[in-house]
Amino acid sequence: MLYSEKVMDHFMHPRNVGVIENADGVGEVGNAKCGDIMKIYLKIENDIIVDVKFETFGCGSAIASSSMATEMIKGKPLSQALELTNKAVAEALDGLPAHKMHCSVLAEEAIRKAVQNYYDRHGIAYDPAAFAFDEHEHEEGEQA
């Protein structure tokens, strides 16, 4: 079997699929040419992620990673969401095949981008360096 039972569960029954109208922060990463795009919508109240939804164009592990990542940050403070790593997402899914690890990277990046978008929209100061993700990271992840 290519994927773990956890991956298949989150792929077959994805949690938090959809759109949040008037979201407080939206982050989209990936590109259609590479075959995967992930979009995360956040509803934030008092620095807490009260709701999160995702839309994903991609393979089974991309959909499962989005689903798992949204579950892991729902109800959590922003500071915790920003600490979520792709490794933690992959581990929560009981692992991803080596060439699919980039899917978990996309999930981490989409969340960070959505939070950054929230900060930008609300004029909240932040250290841009903390959000500077390497644009090449996605491609490298894919080759791994």
Partner: protein, 397 residues
């Protein structure tokens, strides 16, 4: 739940005739065909008989058949043979096409690193190469033309006899990778001016790990496996007699059923194509008439192929896709790119390949389930949302 196996271009279920033909050679007739004793000679007779059957199906002489481990090895040996004799005459140019199987393309790449130059012909939007373009590409130093008989992904059938005639007239050896065609369409290597042809048993209900190269008498095959003198010294290694016997039986059966299978499969194929065409922003890949009887290939906008395959599998439908995630590389299928599909659309491809085992009920079931799965995936796709909201332009109208 219903199970529909619609991935016959990947491999087929072995026929009863093929299995029955193999069993004696795994049981009582286990001798080595190279042995002098009677056990060996019994095996040698079976080998001769199998070679005669394969030759008869292709319209060639038994001595023009080399048994190989499959289509890839046959492709390698055909190309390396033409390259070796070309090199001796100072001819180091090869004409092929952009949508060949990797067994051909990667062999050509290896030759390029040895100083050969390769011209890959355009396969056009319909997935068909023209004899005129083959003729125009041939140079004084061309040592080989290699054009696949039928494409493995989009099923388009090439004008092989006409291309063969061009090559014959210009004095250039002509190889065709006929792995997807043998046993499915009528082939006669003499009438179609084919100098070399590759085939693989598991594509026509034979066993895996066995194939053959037809190489016309007069052309010199080179060994790519060094060792003993089997196959007239052109392919070392003890013959896989059970598989060879199974292949011969499967081929005889397949060749005798070509008309009957086509009469059954073409209406099923066309029903699938008509039904899937009703899905908005979908497009069939490849020519609709010059096409293998069982091949259906589509691109759907806004979705990715691997997730489509996983969901179809959960419904009991075994299919295939040319998305990057299923090709095991960064890029989607080179075949879909070669017919001009952009990357983002090629990722959303689906290939259904039928065999005579499939029924109209299978087709109806697929036509019921596939549109639902595509609608479900589009509903969670940000690409589809952008297309619908006009933020992104449709490639397929």
């Amino acid at each position: 739940m219903r199970t529909v196996y619609a991935d016959n271009a990947a491999t087929t279920k072995m026929s009863r005739a093929a299995i029955d033909a193999m069993l004696p050679y795994m049981d009582e007739i286990y001798g080595n065909p190279s042995s002098l004793h009677s056990a060996g000679q019994k095996a040698a007779e079976a080998l001769t008989l199998a070679r005669e059957k394969v030759a008869a199906c292709l319209g060639c002489q038994p001595r023009e058949i080399i048994f190989t481990s499959g289509g890839s090895e046959a492709d390698n040996q055909a190309i390396m043979s033409a390259a070796a004799s070309g090199e001796r005459k100072g001819k180091k140019h090869i004409v092929s096409t952009a949508f060949e199987h990797h067994a051909v393309l990667h062999t050509l790449k290896a030759l390029e690193s040895r100083g050969f130059s390769v011209t890959l012909l355009d396969v056009h939007e319909n997935g068909i190469v023209t004899p005129e373009e083959v003729e125009a590409a041939i140079r004084p130093d061309t040592c080989l033309v290699s054009v696949m008989y039928a494409n493995n992904e989009i099923g388009t059938i090439q004008p092989i006899a006409e291309i063969g005639a061009v090559c014959r007239r210009m004095g250039v050896p002509f190889h065709t990778d006929a792995v997807q065609a043998v046993g499915h369409v009528k082939i006669n290597v003499k009438e179609q001016n084919i100098d070399m042809l590759s085939l693989s048993a598991h594509k026509f209900h034979g066993p895996k790990g066995i194939g053959a190269l037809y190489i016309r008498r007069g052309l010199v095959p080179v060994s790519i496996i060094y060792g003993g003198a089997q196959e007239r010294g052109k392919r070392a290694g003890t013959e896989n007699l059970p598989a060879i016997a199974g292949m011969a039986a499967a081929l005889e059966e397949a060749c005798a059923s070509i008309d009957r299978n086509a009469a059954k499969l073409i209406p099923l194929r066309d029903k699938l194509i008509r039904g899937l065409s009703a899905i908005p922003h979908s497009a069939v890949n490849g020519d609709l008439t010059h096409r293998l009887p069982g091949n259906v290939s589509f691109c759907f906008e806004g979705i990715e192929g691997e997730s489509l395959l996983l969901l179809l599998d959960a419904k009991g439908i075994c299919a295939s896709s040319g998305s990057a995630c299923t090709s095991g590389s960064l890029d989607p299928s080179h075949v879909l790119l070669a017919i001009g599909r952009p990357h983002e659309v090629a990722h959303g491809s689906l290939r259904l390949t039928l065999s005579d085992e499939n029924t109209e009920q299978d087709v109806d079931y697929m036509l019921e389930e596939i549109p639902k799965v595509i609608a479900y995936l589009r509903n969670m796709s940000p690409v589809w949302r952008d297309l619908q909201e006009g933020k992104r332009q449709y490639v397929i109208q």
